[in-house]
Amino acid sequence: MKKISRLCLVFLLASSLYPQAITPLAIEPPAKVTIPRGKSATFKLQARIAAGYHINSNAPHEDYLIPLRLNLTASPLVVEAVKYPTPHDEKYSFSEKPLSVLTGDFFILVTLKAPENLEPQMHVLTGKLRYQACSDKACLTPKTLEFRLTADVR
């Protein structure tokens, strides 16, 4: 038994050392958002960019770059505001000027409003976050992450 455990440990160690498929951005929406009728609520969409990568901010300095974009299908609720994180400027080997980018952990704030006349019930909203990630040497094709969010209108 002891021998098998050791072999398993060696196998796990070995497999973790080989390159894995890269997913440069991971997101985590809240499990549920509660919104009283006639009121607004703000939720955080948490995101994490893999080390060594950056993504373009929602307002890149250069026209040719693909910006970060959040689209939320919220009806019958209303999206009142989407607040993107504050980017920072960074210079890369391939860019003449610094680029407006996000790295590491960040979050997007989304404010939803539940109209007064809405019946109290759960609503499942769908969102899409489009982004484009690069390292210092290469860019990954633009990707869209989809997520679901439950809004509990009371």
Binding site: L13, Y64, L65, S95, C134, K137, A138, C139, L140, T141
Partner: protein, 180 residues
Amino acid sequence: MSRFQFLAALGLIAIGLTSCTTQSKADEADSAVRPSKDRKKAPEFKLKDSDGKLVSLASYKGKTVLLNFWATWCGPCKVEIPWFIEFENKYKDKGLAVLGVAMDEEGWEVIKPYIAEKKVNYRILAGDDSTAQLYGGVDSLPTTFLIDKDGMIAGVHVGLVSKSEYEKDIQALLGLPAGK
């Protein structure tokens, strides 16, 4: 075996595996032209150029092809374009053809103004997912394949590499003395 010996053995395995992986990455980065026996056939494709003409890879048989997957939104790709313009000028008569495959989803609407602005002198084709799949998905741009005159893949560069590295590969494939 004591606990210490076991942990030491694990450590050695880890170091060994890490160095193997690092070495293989370093080899890929150098991407010297592979020996003929190790080359695989470049997958055939047909894509349209900016004049709407259908272009096949097969029509380039007998030429050395620098097949560059790129996109207008890709910063590192932008760096390489002037090099490829130079290579097309310098080596066209010696048997090189540079082919750019643009992977922009918006197609010619964005590709045409971009290549006009950059004064691209080599042929650009509008890429699609099925062609990218033939070449391993091409998720990272730039990705450049060096195809020999027999239509075999002689080398690949993923990501930005130096101009001299490309030139060394081109000269080797064209049978030219290095540095000329």
